[in-house]
Subunit: 232 residues, 4 copies
C-alpha cells in the first residue's frame, strides 16, 4: 500500500490513541475526584480497549504501530531480509505518529472544553520511573516481535491491549512506553499529562527498552533463515 | 433471509441494547451513589459486554447493525455492487431500530420499578459534546468498514464492544454514536437519559460523523474492484 | 462420552460456578463495605471470568450447560433429530447441576470461614424482578441457540461470560437466570444469597424465559432441514 | 528448542508475572487507600491481563508454564508417551521459575522506590485459606490439561488469564496457586506479600491441588491411546 495511506493511518491512529489516553484521563479526573486509583483504573480500561479497537481499524493499512519504538524495531528486524519498513518509511511513520499524537491531545482538550493546548506540569522523573519505562517498553516490543515471528498478528489487538492495560498498573510510571504518545501528553495540563522537562529522559528510557527488547528477541525469536518476516 | 426476520432482529437487538444501557445506568446510579465515575465505569462495562453478546446473538440474522448510521453506511457502500442493504431494507432497519430503542427504554424503566416512560431532563448540549459525537461516530463506522472490507466480521463482537467501552470514557459526550439509541434514551429520567431538546443536534453530529467515516473509508478501505463486499 | 463423565462434569462445573458467585460475593462484601455498586462490579467481573473458564474446562466433556434451562432447551431442540440430550440425560444433568450448586455454596461458605450452610434472608421478590429474570433467561438461551445453530460454539466461553457479566448490571434481579444456581444461592446468608421463599417464583420466571427463547429461536434460528444440530 | 532458551523464558516470564502481581499491588495500595476491595480489583485486573500477555510472549518458547505445579503436571502427564518435560527439564524449569519470581519481586520493589527486598509480614494461614489454595490450584491445572488434551492451547492466554482474574476474588486466599510466585511474594512487605512462615503450607496446599487435578484429569481427560499429547 502506498506510503501516504500508511502514514496517514499512523497519524490518525496515534492521534486517536492519545485522544483516548488524555480524554479518558480528563473524564476520570472529573468524575472520580476522590480516588486516584479509580481514576487510573478508568483510564487504563479505556486506553486498553481503545488501543485494541485502533489496531483492528488501522492494522491492515499500516500495521498500526502507533509507536516510534515499534516502527524502529520493525525497520531494524527487517533490514536484512528487506521486509519491514524502509528507512524512508520509518521517517514518515515517526513524523506522522508524532504529529498525530500532538493533534490527539488537542482534540481531547477541545472535546472537554479546555484550551487547545496547555503545558502539563506533572513532573515524572527519577531513576525508578526510568526503570519502569525501560521495563514497559522492553515487554511491549518483545510481545510485538513474538506475535510477528510466530505468525500470530491476528492476536495483536487483544494481546497488546492487555499488555498496556496491565502495564498502566504494574509499572511505577504508568507505562507510557511510546515516544510519540509521550510528546503528545506534554500538551495537556490534565491527569495524563507529563511536564516537558520530564520528556527527554522518558523517551531515552523507552529507546533503551526498545534496544533491550531487540537483544531479547535475538535470543528467543531469532530471525528465520528460510521464512520471510511478516510485516506487522 | 427475509426482511421480516431481519427487521425484527434489529428491533429486538436495538431494544436490548437500550435496555442494557438504561438498565445498567439505573443500577449504577442506585448502587454507587457517591461516585459518578464509578457509575460510568459500571455502565460502560455492562454496555460493552451486552453489545458484544447482542452482535453474537443477532449478527447471523440481520448483521446486528443496531444503529441507523451503520445501516446507512452499509447501504451507501454496497449501493453500486448491489451488496449491502437495499433502500427498502434501510427504511425497515431504521424504523425497527428506532421502535426497538424506545421499547428497550420502557422495558428498563419497568424492570427497575419506574413508570414506563418519563422524559429525561439531562441536557447534553454544546459544541464540545457535538465534536465528541462526531468523533465517536466516525471511529465506530470506520471500524465497522475496516472489519467488513478485510473479511474480519467474526471479530466484530469483541472489536465493537471494546470500541464503545472505550468511547464512553474518552469522549466528553459518553459516546452515544447511534441515532436510534439516542431517541430511546429520551424516554428515561435516569443516568443514561438525554433531554429531548438535546437530541436533534446529537443526531446531526452522529450523521456528520457517519459521513466523515465514509470519506475516511474511501481513502483507507476503497471498494475492491473484483471482490464483493460482504454483508455485515 | 459416557453419562457418568458428563454428569459429574455438570456437577463440578455448576458447583464451581456457584462457588465463584458466592465466594466473590463474600469477598466483595468484606473488602468493599462502603459501596454496593462496587461490590456488584467485583462480583460480576469474577462471575463472568469464572464462567468463561469453566465452559473452557468442561465444555468438551458435557457441553458445560451448567444450567437446567440450557439443558432443557438442548433436549427440546434436539428431540426430533435425535441430537441433543435424551430424556434420561436431561434428568441426570439437572440433578447433577442442582446437587453441584448446593455443594458449591457449601464450599464457598467454608472457604471464607462461615458455617457450611446458612439460609439466606435476602428477599428478592416482585413483578419487576420476575420480569428481569424472564428477560435475562430469554437472552441467555437465545444466545446459546444462536451459537449452536450457526456452528460458533468455540465462541461460547467469551460470549456467555460477556452476557452474564452485562446482565448482572442491566437487570434489576442481577440476572440469576439459572434454576440450579438459584437453589444453590439459598444456602448462604451473604451478598449473593436469595431467601428460600423467593426461589419458586424466580425459577418459574426463568422457565418462562426459557420457553420464550425457544419461541424466538424458532423464528430466528429454525432447525436446519438437512443439517444435524450440533450438541452444545 | 534448547533448554537454555526455554529455562530463561520461564525465568523472565515468571519474573515479569511477579513484577505485575507485586507492582500492581503496590500501585493499588498507594492510589486507592480507602477501599481494600478496589485495591484487589485493580490488582486482579492487572495480574490477569499481564498473565495473558506473558503467555503470548513466552508460550512459543517454553510453553509459558510460569508455575512449578503446571510444569510438574506436564512432566507427569507426558512421562509415558515421552512428550512433555523430561525430569531434567522439570528441575531446570522449577529452578528458573523460582529464581525469576524472586527477581520479579525485587524489580517491583525497586521500580516503586522501595528497598530491593523486605520480608512480608502478611500472615496468610488457616484451614480455610489452605482449602482455597487447594481449590484454586486444582481448577488451574485442570483448565490447563483441558486446553492441552483438546488441542486448544491457542486459547490458553485468554482462558488462564480469566481463570486467575476470577480466582483472585472467589477464593479466600486470593488464589496464589503457584509455588514459585508464592516464594517471590515473600520478598515484599506490600499488598501482595506473604509472610515467610505462611509459605510452606500454602505450597503444600498447592501441591495437593495439583495432585487432585491430575486425578480429575484422569477421569475427564484420559490420555489418548493413539494421539500424542501436545506440549503446552
Amino acid at each position: 500500500m502506498n506510503l501516504a495511506r500508511r502514514a496517514t493511518a499512523e497519524l490518525a491512529g496515534t492521534g486517536l490513541l492519545v485522544t483516548a489516553v488524555v480524554g479518558s484521563g480528563i473524564a476520570a479526573g472529573r468524575l472520580s475526584p476522590q480516588d486516584t486509583g479509580l481514576q487510573l483504573l478508568e483510564n487504563a480500561v479505556a486506553t486498553a480497549l481503545a488501543l485494541g479497537a485502533l489496531i483492528v481499524s488501522f492494522g491492515p493499512i499500516s500495521g498500526a504501530h502507533l509507536n516510534p519504538v515499534v516502527s524502529a524495531a520493525d525497520w531494524w528486524l527487517g533490514r536484512r531480509a528487506g521486509t519491514g519498513l524502509s528507512g524512508r518509511d520509518l521517517i514518515a511513520y515517526v513524523a506522522a505518529q508524532t504529529i498525530g499524537a500532538i493533534g490527539g491531545a488537542v482534540v481531547a482538550n477541545l472535546m472537554f472544553g479546555l484550551s487547545a493546548t496547555t503545558w502539563s506540569e506533572s513532573r515524572r522523573s527519577g531513576p525508578n520511573l526510568w526503570l519502569a519505562e525501560i521495563l514497559a517498553t522492553t515487554g511491549l516490543v518483545l510481545l510485538v516481535v513474538a506475535l510477528t515471528r510466530t505468525g500470530r498478528l491476528g492476536q495483536a489487538p487483544v494481546a497488546v491491549a492487555a499488555y498496556i492495560g496491565a502495564a498502566y498498573w504494574y509499572t511505577s510510571s504508568t507505562s507510557f512506553a511510546n515516544p510519540a504518545v509521550t510528546i503528545g501528553r506534554m500538551f495537556t495540563h490534565t491527569f495524563a499529562g507529563i511536564a516537558p522537562g520530564s520528556v527527554p529522559l522518558f523517551i531515552a528510557a523507552q529507546l533503551v527498552g526498545g534496544a533491550l527488547a531487540l537483544g531479547a528477541a535475538a535470543w528467543w525469536y531469532p530471525a528465520p533463515a528460510h521464512q520471510e518476516v511478516a510485516r506487522r
